[in-house]
Structures are given as structure tokens and as C-alpha cells.
Symmetry: C2
């Protein structure tokens, strides 16, 4: 029966997937099979805007199986144990229902902006140092994403590639913003 519902029977009904359940179901639909797989897929794709750790993934796989949204089957690789999961009908419906609803979570935590905010107007050097650090960060993330992009050629309109492009472009925009503002502070401060 579905999770988190005071439900009457084994029928599918509207339920709220936990944040981790969303990424687990999505990654299973996307081709991942084991918990290890899911972690690896996440790290190479959604990590920069939606991460997941083993500490979340394995317990969530159990919960989702208990709720009947996925089914696991033991498939060892030699003597190395391995459980392969796949979506059930309920699981596929739950995923589709979530995908069809409006997104609600948009969260940002940026320590550089916080530091910038607390930097006094009379200390442009401190502000420039923070801007430089933030710029470097976005340049590094952008570089990592471009590496991934170079490895996976594909249809340009595929949403997977669109999201990767977003990461590359958003980080480039942020890096250029930092460059611009730092130049502004440096230029007017010393020139």
C-alpha cells in the first residue's frame, strides 16, 4: 500500500513523496537500478541543484518498497550482493503525479552573499575578496559541468541536457556578475 496515507486498501491514492523519494523514483525511471547506481547518477547530473547521500537513499529504498512503489530483486555480481529495483505501477503513477504538479521548492544558501551583506560600505577590499572567492567557485562548478557535457553528446532538446546547460549558463552568469562588481569596486576605489 502507498506510503504516508491513512488509506483503506492497496489502491493508489494521492500521497506526498518525501524529497528523497522523488529523486529515488526519478532515477529509477531514468535507468538506475541499485542504490549505488542512484548515488552515482545523482552525482553526475542533479547534484548541483539536488543532492542525495547513501544515508538517505538506502533507507528510502526500503520505505518505498514497503509502500509498494518499487520492487527489489536480489541480483548479486559474483559474490558481491546487489539489489536491483524497479518501479511498480503505483510507483510510476506517484512519480507522474509529482511531475505533473507545480514545483514548490526553490532554495538558495549562499555564504558569499551573506558575507557581502555584512561587509561595511567602507571596506571595498573585503567585498572584493568575497566576490573573487564566489567567482572562483562558480568558475570551478561551471568547468566540472562542461566536462560532463563533453562526455555525454546527445539530442540538444533533451531536458537532461537542458538542465546541464542551465547549470553551465547559470554559473557563468554568476561568475560574470562577480567579475563585474569586483571591477566596479576596484576601479572606483583606486582609480
Amino acid at each position: 500500500m502507498p506510503a504516508q496515507a491513512g488509506d483503506i486498501s492497496g489502491r493508489y491514492m494521492e500521497l506526498t513523496l518525501t524529497p528523497t523519494a522523488r529523486v529515488v523514483l526519478g532515477m529509477l525511471a531514468h535507468g538506475a537500478r541499485s542504490g549505488y547506481d542512484i548515488k552515482a547518477f545523482v552525482d553526475r547530473s542533479t547534484r548541483f541543484f539536488w543532492a542525495a547521500s547513501y544515508g538517505q537513499i538506502y533507507p528510502e529504498l526500503r520505505r518505498l518498497e514497503g509502500a509498494g512503489l518499487i520492487e527489489g530483486e536480489s541480483r548479486p555480481t559474483g559474490g558481491r550482493r546487489r539489489t536491483e529495483y524497479r518501479l511498480t505501477g503505483d510507483g510510476r503513477r506517484a512519480l507522474g503525479s509529482w511531475l505533473g504538479s507545480d514545483p514548490e521548492v526553490y532554495e538558495l544558501r549562499d555564504e558569499a552573499l551573506l558575507k557581502l551583506f555584512f561587509t561595511a560600505a567602507g571596506e571595498p577590499d573585503a567585498a572584493i575578496a568575497v566576490l573573487d572567492a564566489k567567482r572562483r567557485h562558480h568558475e570551478e562548478v561551471g568547468a566540472r559541468l562542461r566536462e560532463i557535457q563533453a562526455q555525454i553528446a546527445g539530442e540538444p532538446r533533451d531536458p537532461k541536457l537542458m538542465v546541464l546547460r542551465y547549470g553551465i549558463e547559470a554559473n557563468a552568469w554568476q561568475a560574470s556578475w562577480c567579475r563585474r562588481e569586483a571591477a566596479e569596486l576596484a576601479g572606483r576605489g583606486s582609480g
Copy 2:
């Protein structure tokens, strides 16, 4: 004595401020006096990239006072109790030390991107719906930030205003990205 250090005496030594301690100390330096003030300041400034709830602020004020980084004084408004806090020397040094170190926290959680990623390449309408929702979100946040900007006129190079400008520009960039990609999908899909 400073918090979170197996320290020997009352002297200041390097300590790691908790995430909430940073925003509390910063807001006290920035002019906030009470816990209520801190919450109000946060909601009108750093909220879009660094939030704080009462459930964090009040316990943190106690911890920081116990650690000697701030000092509170009872200052009731009529019969309404009120505690005003101010930074101690140690508190000011701890804030300065944190401000001078490299920022490390850059976190993003975007449910729209996650949905986009899981949307099949053959379902452009679903992708467009997600893009539209994300665009609307950024337009709304941008509008709210512009309202705040209109209320607080000031020196354009003040980091406080720089950060607000960042919020406005970043949300505008994101909205325009969504518009562009949705148009691309719609144009090629039906044209």
C-alpha cells in the same frame, strides 16, 4: 568564554560559528537589537539566500550570550518584555574573523530543475509547464525584491544594495532563461 572550544580561559580563540550564529551576529552588527528585530531584518534582506526562524534565533541568542559573544539587557516597552543584545569584543572579533575567511556554503535546491530533468524528451508540454512555473516564481521573487529596493534608497556601492541588486538580476536572468527555453520547445514543437 567562547563557544565550542575546549578552551582554557576567557580569552578569544578561533571558533567555528554555527550557521545561525553568523546571521545573528551579523544582524546585531547591522543594527538589529532584539530577536524579533533579527527575524524582521532577515526577512527583508537576506531571506532569499539565507533564512532564519524564531526556533533558531532565540536559542542561538542564549548560546551566544553564554559564550560571551553577545550581551543582553532587559529593555521592556511598557509592559512588553524585550531584551536588547549587543556584540561584545569577542563577538565583534568572531564576526570579523568569519567575514575574513573564504565562503564555503553554496547550496541550491530547485524542484523545477529536478522535474525538468525527469521529464522525458518526448513530452515538451510537460517541460514547458515546469519552465512556466519556474519563470513565474522568479518573476514574483524579483518583483518583491524590487519593492524593497524602491523603499530603501541609498549609496549604490553599499554591499547591502549590491546584494539586493544581485537578487533582482539573478531572478531576472533565471526568468529569462525559462522564457527562452520554453519558447524554443514551443516553437520547434508546433512550428
